[in-house]
Each structure stands twice: as structure tokens, then as C-alpha cells.
Amino acid sequence: MQFSFSDEQEEFRRTVRRFLDDTSPPDEVRRLMETDEGFDPSVWEKLCGGLGLTGIAIPEEYGGQGFGFVELALTLEEMGRSLLCAPFFSSTVCAANAILNAGSEDEKKSLVPPIASGETIATLAVAETGGVWTADGIGLTAKKTGSSFNLDGIKSFVVDGHTADRIVVVAREPGSQGSDGLSFFIVSGDADGLSRRLLTTLDPTRKLAELTFKNVSGELIGELGAGAEPLSRTIDQAVVGLANEMIGGAQKVLETAVDYAKVRMQFGRAIGSFQAIKHRCADLLLEVEHAKSAAYYAAAAAAEGADDLPALACLAKASCSDAYRRVASASIQIHGGVGFTWENDTHLYFKRARSSEAFLGTPDDHREQLLQRWGI
């Protein structure tokens, strides 16, 4: 297992960070989060074309750059750090991996390259109004009609679902239950019978949509009824990606808190010289570093396709969720009154932390899953 990044990976991280410093400064984040669309197409173009980030971990035969999950995780960490507003997580992490996991060779060859190049923005619709990202949460049905399928039901918490060009949908055969009868379908964003509603979100930097399907025609991806395994694999990968995105935000918000503690003067001294603040910062560093270890370890496991990826994904998500939430809350506290203002950026991270904590399963869910996956 890899416990350090190579020099090339460190260089890659610096490149991504420079790009994001230029294209996703706080002012831009604030501008984009107020829009319905939620991203800047010109930045998206640079991100795809110049850096090729959308295809970073996609194999070359499907139009990607052929790097591994560690490079994808590094990219996500940096995006989490800058709160980048772009459909990267939905398209590259969720939709592309879903097709790679579920699709046949021909489907992968036709569907993945436009996602890898960024021309097509796709997303993955799994959870419904109950907010569950496992087989049990899926009720939307797919009925076979001739060579096509008709999808009926509601998907919710779909990241960038209101803007995506194509939507990968997990649906079940009518009457099936649990892991049985699940299949992946692809649907056009402007399909007849599909209505999309942008949800009002706690975290305005990540757009979520509710999608209502009424007799929407979808194309099957992969084998009919064999969707359970690729679904859990896709979610594990997305969870590891999210954990790495979260730890980037956690690290940034910790740095902000510590920097502030060094300059904020009260009682004639920097507040960071008070042990009440200093010790809290030390505890936060410990928690963030531990969560980082979990995120990196899980990313390395995903890169290697390790058998314990499902358990490690849970461990990383629980660990990073707790760390991000705590460090973001503490940062507001350390900032004091100004930390509660709209003008201060800390609340953007706090909202991302709170929302990411629940996205793809809460820390408590993941801890329970962790024990089950360890056979405990």
C-alpha cells in the first residue's frame, strides 16, 4: 500500500491547485453559488480541455488520461479545498464510474469518451426521496416496452441533475426487491416525460435536483437485472472520492482557523496563544491528519481494486465526515462573531461539511456498514 505521494503526484497536485486558485477563488464560488446553473462553462472548458481533469482516471481506451484513483482523489481534494463549483463529482466520479462498472465494452466505448472529454456532462441518479444510496433505496421502475424501457418514479438528491446532459439512472424491474432486478439506464436530460426541479440546498455550492420520471424512455446499460454489484462498487468509489474531497475542505478550513488565531488580538495577545484555542487547534489537526490518512488509504485501495475497498470506503467517509464537521464548526467558533457573518467564508465550508456528511450515507450508517463489512 502506498503511504506517500510520488514526486509526480505532488507536482500534479500543485498544478491543480494553481489552476483552482486562479479559476475558483472565493469571489467566484460566491458568484456561482447564487446561480441556478451553479458553474461557469468557460472554467469547465479549461478544466476539461487544458488539464484533462474530467478524464483523469478514465482508461485511455475510453478517452481518458489513464491515471489511477489516487490522481482522481488528489484532484477531488484540491476541488474540495477551493469549493469548486462545477459538475465534476457528478459527471466524472459518479456517472463515468457507473458506466465503467455496469456497461458492456461497446457501451463504455460509446458513452464514456464524451464524459471523459467533458463535452457531455452526466450525472448518476440513485437515491430517491428517502435519501438512501443502496439497493434498498431504489423504487423507480423500468418496464420493458419493445427494445426500450420506460422509467417511472422519482429520483432525488441528484447532484447537478437539473443541468446534466445525460442521466444514468438505477431502476428496478417492477415487483422486484432488494438487490434483485436492478439495472442501469441512460436517459437524456431533455427526455419527454422527465421533469427536473432544482432543490433549495443548505450548501449552495453543490446543486441537487429532484427528477420526476413519467414514462421516460431509457436505454439499458449492462445486463438487465445485474445492477446490484456495479451499484455498490460505484457508490464505494464515489464515497472514497467524496471523502477525499471533504478532507481538502477540512484542511483548508483548519488553516484558515489557525491563521486567524495568529492575527486576532484580544486582551493584548493573539488568541492563538491562549491554550483554550491552541489546544483545540491541536486536536483538530490530529483529527484532520487521521481523516486524511483514512481518505488516502481508501484512495490507494480503490486504485488497486483491493478487496477491502468496501470497508475502507465506509471507514474513510465516517472519518472525514466527522473531521470536516468538527473542524468547520470549530473554525466558526475560533473566528467568533465574524465567523457567523455571511461575508466570512467559513460558513461556505461549514455548509459543504454538513451537506457532504449526509450525502452518500451518514457517518453512523457508514460505521455500521464498516463493522458488517468486517464481519463484526
Binding site: 489557525v258 492563538g272 491554550q275 491552541k278 481523516a291 486524511k292 460505521r367 455500521e368 468486517w374
Partner: protein, 418 residues
């Protein structure tokens, strides 16, 4: 002579061991050969029982010893620390008199640093040293001393000047323990064990030539001792591993190891025994309880992530990268793991947590965990001091304004000896 290489050193040490290593020798005779040949401390200077090899080749020698199953020089808390400190700060006379019997195991040492009145603020010590002709007269009390009752010498920090700031008035002495003015008493801990001593000095005497380093510069010498404390645990672990052979030397060695390790027998419990948590939760049936499951998962996550964090630090070291924050967190993390483990043990044990000894679960082991864990966040630097270090040195937060800086120590508020 050409520069030693890995191959040449390996050849040389292997040949020497073949020629000399004999488990039927007395331990003292064998260690005499180690000291005289320099193979016992190969990285020490040739003049002082070593061979002047670089650190990397020292590993080659250690591996050759392991491979041959040969016993090494004497080790043990105070003893090992004394050796490295004397080597760095001692006069030639001190080195020639004191080092060899340390390596052979004839002399054991203890560390006389902490006091009842100065724990975290070690430099605030108040044991006094007053010069009387050619001797220093020592008065005061030390505490948390391991193996004081059978040590021949102690490394003693005492205040020789009260009119300068606290760090500048300290002198480092080598004190003979077997004298009328030195009294050691066992110190019983809250877990019932007595692994340490209190040492009382009443007009104890130290000859002038037994000052290590310069008078008044003992703090700098003490930092050498303290810097090596962290490495001790590794040495002790290898000692236990290497004591399983047959022959006279091994019989004597096992006795030595048992004596050195005796104070540490409860240390695994001090660390919380997270390794037992899942089994205990299963045995007690509490593993079905969702609250217990969350606590167990949190504990195991903490264990794994702190282990991975240590491995990240190690990987960065191997690559020669500057140390990141991950290297400074181990001690604080160990405290957290221990506390969390104790919580899980208490949670799954239920009412039996009230029982200890033969009546308690696992023959009293669970009780011993619960009453030993409080030590882990105090010994070797409290959690609070660790947080100061992390806050100041890693995160770069400003220091707390200190009111004792630049003041004669005489005028600084302090705990008065009772």
C-alpha cells in the same frame, strides 16, 4: 585502511561473532568482549568501546547479531540514557570510568529528573546543590524514578544557582545511590503496582568531578537525555525478543531482562488494549447493541487511522521529505485510543466493571485497563503539553506569555516543599 562498506562490515562482524560468540560464557565475560572489540556499540567512537561506524552500518551489525542470536550490550531505561548522555557530554575521565560497566551491565543507572513540584515544568526543579569544598551537597526530592532501588548511579538535575533564570541555574550530576543521604521508597500507583520510586536527598554528597557538562549548564545536558527517551521503547522490545536462547549467558540475560521489564508489565493495559475490544463485545453479547457498535467502530477507526498516520510519517522520512504534521501526533493519538478503548471496555462489561482481581472479568485484566489508562495521558509529557508542542511547533501558534522568563528563579512563584 579502506572505508568500511556494508559488505566489509558484514563480513567482519560475522567472522568475529563466529570466533567469539559462545552462549556458555558468563554474561559479564561476553559483554566484556563486546565492549573491548567495539562490536557492542559499533557506531560509538573507537576510543570509547565503539568502532566509529556510521548509523547505517550500525544496522548491518545489529542484523548480524540478530541472525547469530547473539546477546547485545546491557540496555535499560536509565542505563541506556546515561550512556548516550555521558558519551556526548562527559570528560575523558568520566567516559573511561563510567561507560564500560554500563555496556557490560555491571552498573545500572536511574534518572533523577522529575520532582513532586515540577512535572510538566521540569526546569522548575527545586532540589538544591550547594558547593562545600570539593563536594556538592544535595537536598530535595525526586519522583517517578524507575529502578532507583538497584541503580548504582543516578543522573541528577539539581539547582546550583538561584539567582539566574530557571534554565540557567541547573547542574547535571552523577550521584552514587548507595550513600547515607539517599533514600529510595517505592511509590504505589492508583493501579496498585509500584513501578517507580521516590528518592529523598538529605545532605547527599557528590564529588566536584562528577558534574556532567559545566556547572549551570545542566539543562542543555538534560535535553540530550530527553531526546533519547523516545527511542527507548524500541530497544526494550528487541531485548525481550532476543532473550530466548539456551546457555549460561541466556540464563543470566533472562534475569536481567525480567528485572528491567518488571516496572513495565502493566504498560499494555495503560495503552487501553483496544485489541481486545471486539472479542469482549462478542463475549458479553453487547456487540448487537447499536450504541456499542458505533463505539467499537469509532475505536477501530481511530486505531487504524493513527497507525496509517504513523506510516505516512515514516514514508515521508524514508523519502527524505521534511517532516509534516503527521509525525508529531503519535503520543496524543495514543492517549485518545487508550481512552476510547477504556470506554468500550466499560461499556461492554456492564456491572462486572465493579469487580477486579480474580473476581473481575479476564482475571482482573479489564479492571487493570480501566485503572491504568489515566497514566498514558500524563507520563512522558501530558496531553496538554503535547497540545502546546503541536500548537506552537507544528501550527506555529504564538507561545503563552511566560511570567518566569528572565527572572531570578529565587523570585519565581513555585511549589514549596512540604
Amino acid at each position: 585502511m579502506s572505508e568500511p562498506t556494508e559488505t566489509s562490515v558484514l563480513e567482519e562482524v560475522t567472522a568475529w561473532l563466529e570466533e567469539n560468540w559462545d552462549p556458555e560464557l558468563s554474561l559479564l565475560d561476553w559483554r566484556g568482549k563486546l565492549a573491548d572489540s567495539g562490536w557492542g556499540c559499533p557506531t560509538w567512537p573507537q576510543a570509547w568501546c565503539g568502532r566509529g561506524l556510521p548509523e547505517s552500518l550500525g544496522d548491518v551489525v545489529r542484523e548480524a547479531f540478530q541472525k547469530a542470536g547473539a546477546i547485545g550490550i546491557a540496555q535499560g531505561g536509565g542505563t541506556t540514557l546515561a550512556a548516550v548522555t555521558i558519551l556526548e557530554h562527559g570528560t575523558d575521565d568520566q567516559k573511561s570510568e563510567l561507560l564500560r560497566p554500563i555496556l557490560t551491565g555491571e552498573d545500572t543507572w536511574c534518572q533523577l529528573f522529575s520532582e513532586p513540584g515540577s512535572g510538566s515544568d521540569l526546569a522548575g526543579l527545586t532540589t538544591r546543590a550547594d558547593l562545600d569544598g570539593d563536594e556538592w551537597i544535595i537536598n530535595g526530592q525526586k519522583v517517578w524514578t524507575t529502578s532507583a532501588h538497584h541503580a548504582r548511579y543516578g543522573m541528577l538535575l539539581a539547582r546550583s544557582n538561584w539567582d539566574v533564570p530557571k534554565h540557567q541555574g541547573i547542574t547535571y550530576f552523577v550521584v552514587e545511590m548507595d550513600q547515607p543521604g539517599v533514600e529510595s521508597r517505592g511509590l504505589r500507583q492508583m493501579n496498585g503496582h509500584a513501578s517507580f520510586n521516590e528518592v529523598f536527598f538529605t545532605d547527599a554528597r557528590v564529588p566536584r568531578e562528577n558534574v556532567l557538562g559545566e556547572v549551570g549548564q545542566g539543562w542543555g545536558v538534560a535535553l540530550t537525555t530527553l531526546a533519547h527517551e523516545r527511542r527507548l521503547a524500541d530497544g526494550m522490545r528487541s531485548m525481550v525478543r532476543g532473550s530466548q536462547g539456551k546457555g549460561r549467558a541466556f540464563d543470566e540475560y533472562r534475569k536481567e531482562v525480567a528485572s528491567v521489564m518488571e516496572p513495565y508489565k502493566w504498560y499494555p493495559q495503560r495503552a487501553g488494549r483496544a485489541d481486545l475490544a471486539v472479542d469482549r463485545a462478542r463475549t458479553t453479547g453487547r456487540i448487537e447493541d447499536p450504541v456499542v457498535r458505533q463505539a467499537v467502530a469509532k475505536l477501530m477507526t481511530m486505531m487504524r487511522t493513527s497507525e496509517w498516520t504513523a506510516r505516512r510519517a515514516k514514508a515521508a522520512r524514508v523519502l527524505g521529505r521534511p517532516p509534516g504534521p503527521e509525525g508529531s501526533l503519535g503520543k496524543l493519538a495514543a492517549s485518545e485510543v487508550a481512552r476510547a478503548a477504556a470506554e468500550v471496555h466499560a461499556m461492554v462489561t456492564g456491572s462486572e466493571v465493579m469487580l477486579s482481581g480474580a473476581d473481575g472479568p479476564l482475571d482482573g485484566l479489564i479492571a487493570e485497563i480501566l485503572v491504568s489508562v489515566p497514566a498514558v495521558s500524563i507520563a512522558g509529557g501530558t496531553d496538554e503539553i503535547q497540545r502546546n508542542i503541536i500548537g506552537e511547533r507544528v501550527l506555529g501558534l504564538p507561545k503563552e506569555p511566560a511570567i518566569d522568563v528572565g527572572k531570578a528563579y529565587r523570585d519565581v512563584p513555585k511549589n514549596l516543599a512540604s
